[in-house]
């Protein structure tokens, strides 16, 4: 399946995505494309808002006792012991880069894994020898969210690009270019997942997420197994695409 250029087709696909009729692998593709396709984002938002009244057809119900307490415990309790984040410790190189040109000169920044307050991984990025945080990267609904929180505007003809050095590798690999005009942007999961698949220690990091949490469908930092599953086993026969 490709994300269509045609506006009508794009909106129909967004509608199917919001309805939830797409199979898991198709839905993942749409979710990943949301990072870079503003028209698709608008279309999805349109359907979420327009179809929302249909949720009135579902009767409210009382959640089981203890649900809030479980949520509260997970948002307030510091992670008992951050797992040795070999992958993220090696996610050590930011550099300036003309978008699309890997050979651009580098300005290294460093990235550290904070003790995560919850089950998600949060990376704080800032220039070397400086305390001011410039970016915060978190696992989010649609992938890796990178938010600029301080003056992180690149020169007019440049863009920021996030790089990682996979364990055992000698060369950094690009996780994606951050759009220069956006205060926040989503990076697609596939390169991250691909790296995880190539590295046992990276997959250990993935697997280290608390067992109580569901793997994330949307290819955030957690869903290594889900990405793998999507690639291999479509859950239902597909008659088109």
């Amino acid at each position: 399946m490709m994300i269509p250029d045609d506006r009508d087709e794009l909106h129909a696909l967004a509608g199917e995505f919001v309805l939830g009729v797409l199979e898991a692998n198709e839905a993942s593709e749409v979710a990943a494309a949301l990072a870079t396709n503003a028209e698709l984002r608008r279309a999805v938002a349109f359907w979420e808002v327009q179809l929302h009244p249909l949720s009135e057809l579902t009767s409210p119900a009382e959640p089981p006792p203890g649900t809030w307490q479980a949520i509260e415990a997970r948002i307030t309790k510091p992670a008992s012991k951050p797992v040795a984040p070999s992958f993220w410790n090696n996610l050590a190189l930011w550099r300036w880069s003309t978008a699309g040109f890997a050979a651009a000169a580098g300005l290294a920044l460093w990235i550290a894994l904070t003790p995560a307050p919850g089950p998600s991984f949060v990376a704080v990025l800032h220039p070397p020898q400086q305390d001011q945080v410039s970016w915060v990267a978190t696992a989010g609904r649609y992938g890796l969210l990178v938010r600029a929180v301080a003056g992180a505007t690149p020169p007019s003809d440049r863009a920021f690009e996030l790089w990682a050095i996979p364990p055992g590798a000698t060369r950094p690999r690009s996780l994606g270019v951050i759009p220069r005009t956006a205060s926040s942007s989503w990076l697609r999961c596939p390169p991250i997942c691909a790296m995880a698949r190539r590295s046992r220690s990276a997959s250990n990091l993935w697997a280290a997420r608390p067992r109580t949490s569901q793997p994330d469908r949307w290819c955030s930092l957690a869903p290594y197994r889900q990405c793998e599953a999507d690639r291999r086993v479509p859950s239902r026969p597909r008659s088109d695409d």
């Binding site: 938002a45 579902t58 989010g140 969210l145």
Partner: protein
Amino acid sequence: MDSRTAAPSSVDVLIEAVGRGSPVALKRLYDVESRRLYGIALRIARRPEIAADVLQEAFLQIWQNAATFSAERGAGAAWLTGVVRFRALDAVRKVGRETLSDDPALGDEALEPDVVEKLDAVAQTAALRRCLTLLEDEQRRCILLAFVDGLSHSQIAERIKAPLGSVKSWIRRGLHSLRRCLQ
């Protein structure tokens, strides 16, 4: 008219406060929205323990992502619904729908022809209700089954005993018509 529709902005305000990192706002949001959201999760997931897990994961996601819920989106309640629905659909796909639907009658009220009449007669719903009534019966039926019960193309085909290709086509044409009507 319930409190949610009477004060539509309160959820947006709470989400904004959650985005600033306020646990108190998250608790308030839970108090206001958890029954509605749990009902949605339960309808799709069918099993209370799965629905409770969905709700828990959804609120964690809301906690983490509220800051990125941007002004361009606007409708907070719709965003919350989207988060819960996607979580619930995901859980169902993992567990396997077949193991969940031990009661075949559960959820079939969406098939009733007058179901659209159940929609609250508030302003923002009136347009959707009117546009849904303009759809062909099969189109409306499939779209409602998808949204309310969280069924995929193939699951709908199975449920209503129609060819998969027809179901896909009904939904797609229904969405085209809906969009034209809603705009």
